[in-house]
Structure formats: C-alpha cells, structure tokens
C-alpha cells in the first residue's frame, strides 16, 4: 500500500497530469493508502503489547496474634495463609503467622 501511495504521489507531482480532477483523485488515493499503512502499523504495535507478560511480585503479610507486630516479606515457596512461623520477636508471647498473601498487581507502564 505504501508503494501504491508513493506511485500516486509521484504521478501527481511528476507534472504529467493536466486535469486537476484527476490530480485530486490521485492525492485522495495516496492519502487513503498511507492511512491504511499507518493504521496497520498501529495495530501491529498494539498486538505486540498484549503479549508481554510481567511476572507478579507476591508478598506475605506476617502478624502476631498478641501484639501489633506486623511484617511484610517476599513470598517464599511453602508459605500459606495461617502458617505459623514461631514466636513473636517483639512480645515473645504471641505466635507469628501469615495473615495474608497478596500481590500489588503488575507495575504501571
């Protein structure tokens, strides 16, 4: 389509066409051809964007059952909600457990 567009532009500016109506017709065809090429390229770029997969960052929210201790750590294999992780280092009485596992979603582009 780009070649077709260029050909018609060449015809118009080559000075061979005396009839202004024909010249307008050729310019219109060239514009249509270039628009088509532009739209195709935009669509190709959009198509490529869809496929890019971004792995998500997952966090484990650790809380103490007794005090207000709260910690957010990176998810590790074997973590699950309500998994007990031992005694709280802050109050030494309560049990630390995973209260939630979540992702903040993909990074904004």
């Amino acid at each position: 389509m780009a070649v077709v567009g260029l050909y018609f532009i060449g015809l118009v500016f080559g000075g061979d066409i005396a009839d202004p109506n024909i010249a307008i017709l050729y310019v219109t065809i060239a514009v249509l051809a270039f628009t088509f090429v532009l739209l195709t390229l935009t669509r190709m770029r959009r198509g490529i964007r869809i496929g890019a997969y971004t792995p998500l960052k997952v966090f484990s929210l650790v809380k103490c059952g007794q005090c207000s201790f709260k910690q957010i750590k990176n998810f590790a294999m074997g973590d699950f909600v309500f998994k007990t992780l031992g005694k709280c280092t802050q109050c030494n009485t309560g049990d630390l457990s995973i209260n939630g596992i979540y992702t903040e979603g993909p990074p904004k582009k």
């Binding site: 017709l25 065809i29 195709t40 998500l56 997952v58 699950f80 909600v81 309500f82 979540y102 992702t103």
Partner: protein, 377 residues
Amino acid sequence: MLPLSLHENDLLGGLLGNLGTISQLLFTVLFIALFFGFGQKLQMRQFLWDIDKGLRKLDMFRNSAKDLTLKTVKEIGKPSTDPGPQINVLMEQFLISPVDMDPAGIVGKIDHLLDVRDAKFKEDVRRIAPGADSSQVMNLENLVEASWALNTIYRIIRHFYLMGKKTNSIFIIIQLQALLPLIIQEAEAYLGAAKAFAEGQPIGDGIGPLVASRLMKDKEKRKVEKDVVVAETMMEDRRVIALKAEGPGGNVGKPGDAIKTIIEENVGKVSMVVMVDAAVKFEGETSGEISEGIGAAIGGIGTERYKIEQEATVHKIPVYAVIVKESIQEAITPMKKEIMEAGEKVIERIKSLILERSKPGDTIIVAGIGNTIGIGQ
C-alpha cells in the same frame, strides 16, 4: 510532403494525448477493481497475519506453562524417570459429557464422571510426582490443569486458523481475529495461574475460603464430605458453621455434598445458608467490591449448585450470596491486595445479614466457595 508530415504529427500528438488520458482512466479502473475485487482478500490476508501472530504467542504461553510444569514436577515430585511423556498424555486428556437427550438424572451422571476424572487425574499426578505430599499433589494437579487449558486453547485456535485458511472462509477468520485479543488475555491469565499453582500462592478465586478460614481460625475443625473442612463458631449469638475446601493445597472440594450433610446432621434446622464466592465483575467496576444477592453462589459445571438448591428447597432454607467482584484474570492469578482486604468487609456483611435475617440461637451455614490454594484453616 509537408501537409502530410503535418498531418502525421497531428495524429501522433493526438494519439499520445489520448494515450495519457486512456492510461490514467485504465489505472483508475484497475485500482477501483483491485480494491473492490481483492479488498476482501487483502483484508483476509491481514487478519491471517494477526491470527498467526496471536497463535505464536499462544504457542509460547503453552510451552512456558509446560516447561514450568516439568520443572516443578521434577523439583517437588523427584521422579525416577523423565515425567515428560506422562505429562504429554495428561495434556491431551478429555472428558466425554453424558448424553442429554433424556436429561433426567444427568446431574448424577456428570457428578460421577467428574469424580472419576478427578480421581484419575490425582492418581496420575501422584504417580509422576511420588515425592510430593498431598498438598503438593493438589497444587501440581492444578498446575497440570492450567497447562492443559493452555494446550487446549492453542489446539482449538490453530484448528480454526488452519480451517479458515484452507476453506478461505472470511467468516471463520473474522470471528477468530475479533476474539483473539480476549483469548490471549485469558491465556495470559492461565500462565499467571500456572505460576501461582507452581508456588502454591493464593489466587483471587480463593476469597471465599479466605473468609471461611478467618471464621474458623483457632476453632476445632473436622472433615466432612470430600476435601471439605468444617468448624463451628459463634457470631452475634448465632451458631455459625463455617466450611471451606481443605487447604493449603489447590482444591475446591465438594461444597454441595458438605452443605447437604450439615443440613441432614442438623435435621433441616438451619435458618439460612450464606455463600461467599468471587464473581466476575463487569468492565468499569472496581475489583474487591462486595455485592449481596440471593441464590447459590458457586461456579463450575453446575452439579454442586444443583445439590445446594435441591437441599435448600426441600428444607425451605433461604440461600444468600455475598460476592467479591473481580475480573476473570484476577480470579485465577495471585490474589490482589484489594481482594484480600475485601475479606474483612465480607465478614461485616455476613454479620449484618445474620442480624437482619435470623434470631439469636439459630444455626447458620457460611460456605467459603473457591479454590483454597495457599490458604490453610
């Protein structure tokens, strides 16, 4: 000679002038014919390029999921032989749905088929991953299912692409090209799900089990029907029986059978059933929003919903639904923060529902529906 030569020049000039006009006219006619005659063909060619590109993406997704499955099976399952060929067999597995010409009793038939499929799948996974514990087997089963889904999507799209190409049918190609972005999005979500299943991370669909597990925390639990755990708690002076699929392995259990059993255990004296589940939101709605409704909130093929509706109708028990809105992609990929935070709000909604619709001392069933991967109890 002179007049003749002048006459020849006039002829040539006229001919050349006409030739220019004729060639312009010819070119215009040819161009219009090209657009009208071959426009559709050109468009079809472009659609085919788009589909081809999408198909390559789908192929990449299914290969990634398959590689991840193989890697995880080798890491967790510690098989003595190469699990590749057995995984390939699982990827091509299918289920033949029962004849529905005479629909009476079809729910039982489908339920039986699903049980057989589930048991076989689990057994196959256990065989290829002998080193995995029961929770890991569940996660691996979910992982293989995600890979199976990606493989099936790829095979179906390739089938229609090749068929459209072979038959030159623009209608097949247009439909495929129009649907492809949505299919790719879904496939991408399945790839995300595969990663979540491989690592045992909770997914968006797990909001129901998360709510139930919060209710049953530190309470005595017992196992009822297949892979479902139950615990009793008190809420606003009402006896609440909370249930969810047994975690933290990837599992949905059979909540229909469990609810039926609990109602029978209580001789039908249950004042209401509240079902908590993730539901697909409409575009433009916010993820993590809560809605209330009436009826059995449970997805799947429909067998579990049928059982709940049947039992509720027999005992005249009202069934209420509290749903958390999320997209289909969010439902099968790691749980987003806003969805996790909706869990507390759901408990508040259940409390107000219980206060409005029951009396102190009543028995209420709260069922957390969904995949409990990464969520213990």
